[in-house]
């Protein structure tokens, strides 16, 4: 299939399995290895075995779709990706792959709709945007053929539709398994969160601008003394943002909620209590949560008001989403707290 020339090979989808169910993860990792080695039959066998115990598993089904397609059964793959979009409508990758498969069958209208769904759930999903551009070009050339009776060979627009190889690939163009860590400027890990600063001292270090939370902790005592005169608001809110993400990743809901100011703007129609209850439930429920913050930028208003905008990559056991987020911070009694949380740009 010449049109799928944007292969995207990351192994990131297996990361969270190492946290949850190791034996299962091994199975599926093996299947993935086999698949990448071109041993499709064996890979399929592994995946099927895995699905026998976890029939709903998104990644296993996703991998199965890829394998089945590679074996030449595009319609089978379409069925698998379609059922994935039914069960996990929030995931953009199955839509994308569905679109690529439809496009390979010249069903551009269906491909277009699938990509639009992918983009609806994830407006910044660049692969879908690129693919949609290709689909439009392809549809355009079909229309031109009809309009001008062109030779088919004459107009075939080169398409570069990308079949997403990994369900939870964060950065679609990434080619190395390690690339996730490399492109993400700041990785907040649960361990970093456990040693987080706010608990230990109310004054925040201006030295905390470095990207590693660990560095913050070590630098702390030294700077405390001269913290008063030169308060670096940006550094403080950036640090607070990372800590907030760390608390979330650690599934420490008390700590997570402590970041929210009393007058935090809860979603419309929701009381503070109801909101807290919902957050607690959602934080506790997944087997694991990993929240990454990328391209964080602080905007200072004054000494006590600032906001931080960033790209948030959220991954839980069966859900992954990326979104743009802005946290509006306010300093209450020496603590930075979240006054408002906005999604989107």
């Amino acid at each position: 299939m010449a049109m799928f020339n944007k292969y995207i090979l990351t192994a990131s989808l297996f990361a969270l399995f190492s946290i949850s169910s190791l034996s299962f993860a091994d199975d599926i990792q093996d299947a993935n290895k086999l698949f990448k080695q071109g041993q499709n039959a064996q890979a399929l066998e592994k995946v099927n075995a895995f699905l026998a115990t976890k029939p709903k598993d998104a990644q296993a089904r996703f991998l199965k779709g890829l394998i089945v397609n590679e074996q030449g059964d595009a319609n089978g793959a379409i069925r698998i990706f379609t059922s994935l979009t039914d069960d996990y409508p929030e995931l953009p990758e199955p839509y994308n792959n569905l679109a690529v498969l439809y496009a390979s069958q010249d069903q551009y209208e269906k491909a277009k709709i699938a990509l639009e769904m992918a983009i609806r759930t994830h407006p910044s999903y660049s692969t879908a945007h690129e693919n949609l551009g290709d689909i439009y070009a392809k549809m355009a050339s079909q229309a031109y053929d009809r309009a001008l009776q062109l030779d088919k060979s004459n107009t075939s627009t080169q398409t570069k539709l990308a079949l997403i190889r990994d369900l939870f690939s964060k950065t679609p163009r990434t080619t190395k398994p390690t690339a996730i860590a490399a492109v993400t400027e700041t990785v907040v890990t649960p361990t970093a969160a456990s040693s987080s600063v706010p608990v230990t001292t109310p004054t925040v270090s201006p030295a905390a601008t470095t990207t590693k939370p660990v560095a913050v902790a070590t630098a702390m005592p030294a700077v405390t003394a001269k913290a008063e005169p030169a308060v670096n608001v940006s550094a403080e809110v950036l640090k607070a943002t990372r800590e907030w993400a760390a608390a979330w990743s650690a599934q420490n809901s008390d700590k997570y909620l402590s970041f929210y100011a009393k007058d935090f703007v809860t979603p419309v129609g929701m009381s503070r209590n109801a909101w807290e209850a919902q957050r607690k439930e959602r934080i506790a429920k997944p087997e694991s949560i990993k929240v990454e913050i990328q391209d964080a930028k602080a905007q200072e208003q004054d000494e006590k008001h600032a906001s931080v905008s960033f790209k948030q990559h959220y991954r839980a056991s069966h859900l992954k989403s990326s979104s743009n987020k802005t946290l509006v911070w306010i300093k209450n009694d020496g603590h930075w707290q979240i006054a408002e949380e906005r999604s989107g740009k």
Binding site: G133, A137, A140, S141, Q142, A143, R146, L148, T155
Partner: protein
């Protein structure tokens, strides 16, 4: 013979049996115009919706496909011109650009409220008249309502690749003049290229021949089944309609009866026109009564010096008339089914057709006659006469 009124409020008087079907073709053109206007207003989403819904019913509408191609392409990359298809043959894009222009003009144009000046008199057999304006890529259909032409519909058409005013075989031009539908050729006898059938017209007519024009096979016909419409200049001289339009038009065509008048500059009936018409009608009546009077020299003053039957010039014609009339003790001439069509592209020329009921002491006959009258030095004269 009463004068017909000059203004016919066609909008209110659409023939009900035709209205719905005619409207379909119009609606489509309007949808296309809407789409193109939306492009102009930078509402590409609206434009695409419009053209998409139009293509649902008419996927073979090539111009709409081209517009759709552009609109989709614009979502993929910036485009700079109409017909941005890579490797697009420029001539075909140009053709479709011209069709877009022609159709846009058609949409912007009001439906006619006046009557073309080429329809001075329809006879009661002629239920409809066809007037083609090659410069507007439009065929107008008029219905004969109690002797008055009433606008029914107009259709987008294609004409000759080299335009209008045919002179010779192979010049790829559409003739201008007053013609009649000669015959109907069913699709069974034709290739798919002609669509649902064809109506040949009588080019070259008597006037054409007199002008030394030649060529043959000028038809009204449809389009191939995979083509909704052809560019404004596409044929070898024929007038080409969309298949739906052709079929609807065909319902109103009477072989040997329906006039097809082709102009490259539509002129509408006006007051001066009415005077001219009355003058000609008087001349025709005078010619008839002078013939009955057997005053042959007076009768012959109606014939021009350059009169010709095509085979006989004035001198011989006059000679023969004198001879025949001298043997008559009485003559009676009745004219019926009179139709009168001023010639487009030729000032002061009129085609007159009638059924002539001739009786005399030693001979009687009935015939369909055609005359060409021309205004010479302020007087209407016959320059051609023959059976029709």
């Amino acid at each position: 013979m009463k004068l017909h009124s000059f203004l016919v409020l066609s909008l209110l008087a659409l023939s009900s049996s035709l209205a719905a079907e005619e409207q379909a073709s119009r609606n489509m053109e309007q949808a296309l115009a809407k789409s193109l206007q939306a492009v102009g207003n930078n509402r590409l989403d609206v434009a695409l919706n419009e053209v998409d819904s139009l293509l649902k019913t008419h996927p073979n509408f090539k111009l709409a496909q081209l517009v759709r191609g552009d609109l989709l392409m614009a979502r993929s990359k910036p485009i700079s011109d109409f017909g941005a298809a890579p490797n697009a043959p420029r001539d075909r894009v140009q053709d479709l650009r011209e069709e877009a222009n022609a159709r846009l003009h058609r949409v912007q144009q009001q439906q006619p409220i006046a009557v073309p000046k080429y329809l001075w008199q329809l006879n009661d057999q002629q239920r409809f008249a066809v007037v083609v304006d090659t410069s507007k890529s439009t065929l107008y259909l008029y219905e004969n309502v109690n002797g008055e032409p009433r606008y029914v519909a107009d259709y987008y058409i294609s004409v000759g690749k080299k335009g209008a005013a045919k002179v010779s075989e192979g010049d790829q031009k559409t003739p201008l003049g007053v013609y009649f539908v000669d015959e109907h050729i069913s699709s069974a006898k034709l290739t798919d290229f002609y669509g649902p059938g064809a109506y040949p017209i009588n080019y070259p007519n008597e006037w054409d021949k007199r002008q030394g024009r030649n060529g043959h096979g000028i038809w009204l016909h449809g389009t191939p089944s995979d083509t909704y419409s052809r560019p404004p200049r596409a044929s070898n001289g024929c007038v080409v309609l969309s298949n739906n339009d052709f079929t609807h038009l065909g319902k109103n065509i009477q072989v040997g009866v329906t006039p097809v008048i082709i102009t490259n500059h539509m002129e509408w009936s006006d007051e001066k026109d009415a005077t001219e018409r009355a003058d000609l009608m008087n001349s025709i009546e005078k010619w008839r009564s002078d013939w009955e009077s057997r005053e042959t020299e007076t009768y012959l003053t109606h014939y021009a010096r350059d009169f010709s039957t095509g085979s006989t010039a004035f001198k011989d014609f006059a000679e023969q008339k004198r001879k025949v009339n001298s043997g008559k003790t009485w003559i009676k001439v009745k004219l019926s089914k009179l139709s009168v069509f001023p010639y487009p592209s030729q000032q002061g020329l009129v085609v007159v057709n009638f059924e002539q009921d001739y009786e005399s002491n030693n001979l009687s006959n009935r015939m369909l006659k055609r005359q060409y009258w021309m205004k010479q030095d302020g007087r209407w004269k016959i320059i051609y006469e023959g059976s029709a």
